[in-house]
């Protein structure tokens, strides 16, 4: 569909601006209040409805995730596909960028989630602008806390908010410096590892360092 290509191309400058804004205002996992508000503002400015406050860490917490559904208007259809972005940044002090260095000391978008968010925003806005050309629904999923357990994705799955309409699948992406710009990488089947955190506390008996070997011999 040429309309969507044009709509995406027309949004390039906006996507750069959104990404740089997010890059300058990074927030740590599950604290993405400003980021979520920014995403909501962009979508609402396009006349889209946003469901904010999802992905709650505790039942009474204000969730920092949000979901928006773009509706195609060509003909009635309940079909739905989800596009996913992650919102959080990392506890890293950025080494200066000339124009858009982090303004939040010690916090940095060092994993490209600013770009992921900007691209799902771009895709969503573009699809909304050409909504008369297609049928069905596209669910935009902006999740918090990708970098930290329990993971914003697990909270969204648990909360059952990926429904109404229920997506038949979900597409996500990750930037990588290992591929040059212009390339895309795919793998079918298992792609990335299961990860578990290990916390070990070894207990013994301390004391003055002069005694340590003696205890060792005695025991």
């Amino acid at each position: 569909m040429p309309e969507i290509d044009k709509a995406i191309a027309a949004l390039h400058a906006d996507m750069i601006a959104w990404r740089r804004h997010l890059h300058q205002h990074p927030e740590l996992s599950f604290q993405e209040h400003g980021t979520a508000a920014f995403v909501a503002e962009v979508l609402k400015a396009e006349g889209m409805e946003v469901r904010a406050g999802v992905a709650k860490l505790t039942p009474d917490a204000k969730g920092t995730g949000l979901i928006a559904v773009v509706h195609g208007e060509k003909s009635a259809s309940n079909r739905c596909i989800a596009l996913r972005a992650d919102l959080d940044a990392l506890p890293i002090t950025e080494l200066g960028k000339p124009d858009y260095c982090s303004l939040n000391p010690g916090v940095m978008h060092a994993c490209g989630h600013d770009a992921h968010t900007s691209m799902v925003l771009g895709a969503g806005v573009a699809l909304h602008r050409v909504r008369s050309e297609w049928s069905g629904n596209v669910m935009l999923v902006f999740q918090p806390g990708e970098e930290k357990e329990p993971g914003g994705a697990s909270l969204l799955v648990k909360e059952g908010v990926l429904a109404d309409p229920r997506p038949s699948g979900i597409i996500g992406q990750h930037v990588t410096p290992e591929l040059p710009v212009g390339q895309l990488g795919f793998r079918s089947g298992p792609f990335m590892a299961a990860a578990d955190e290990l916390y070990i506390t070894v207990k013994g008996r301390g004391g003055h360092a002069r005694s340590a070997i003696r205890w060792w011999i005695r025991s």
Partner: protein, 187 residues
């Protein structure tokens, strides 16, 4: 017993045991990136804390290691008159890309950037919480190239202080998302 000496024995025991039960060809990584024994030149502390990560691709192996690793650490510590607490926090599962959805997205990518720019990737030991979605619905997680030798930072690794992306990639990633969605909604 000196807990630092115990920790110094626990670590290789865990690395060795984990390596020995892994079936041939099965990817597995165990790494400890934080070891704190907060004593001094002349003070031996009462405890040592060790933080690490376990990466697997096989749920059976994962479960076996969850049982084995605490046992090994505790046995080694007790054999030296010490003890050990082992806390395991289960993280995200494997990211499994649905073969049919991924094949369709790969075709979209070929249309968007040309077959010569679509790369088939190997498995990664990194983790990604996108995994949770892929266990409740078909998922496709792809990688977007953002490296450019001419732009500073864009070849710096993820999670580094100099990391940056080539913003020319934004139209490709967004285009991939939008065209991918439309492909899935087509009758």
């Amino acid at each position: 017993m000196d807990p630092i000496l115990i920790a110094a024995k626990v670590l290789p025991a865990l690395y060795d045991e984990a390596a020995r039960i892994v079936p041939a060809g099965e990817p597995m990584v165990i790494s400890f990136g934080k070891v704190i024994a907060n004593g001094a030149t002349n003070i031996v502390p009462d405890m040592v804390s060790i933080d690490g990560t376990l990466r697997t691709f096989n749920e059976e192996l994962r479960a076996r290691l969850h049982e084995l690793l605490p046992r090994i650490a505790t046995e080694v510590a007790r054999s030296m008159s010490g003890d050990c607490e082992f806390r395991l926090v289960k993280g995200s599962p494997v990211v499994k890309n649905d073969p049919e959805l991924t094949a369709r997205m790969r075709s979209v990518a070929v249309g968007l950037v040309g077959a010569e720019n679509v790369v088939d990737m190997d498995i990664r030991m990194g983790a990604e919480d996108f995994a949770y979605y892929t266990h409740v619905m078909p998922g496709c997680f792809f990688r977007l190239g953002t490296g450019n030798a001419a732009k500073p930072g864009t070849q710096s690794g993820l999670h580094t202080a100099a990391f940056d992306v080539d913003e020319d990639a934004l139209v490709i990633g967004a285009g991939m998302m939008a065209l991918g969605a439309l492909t899935e909604l087509r009758d």
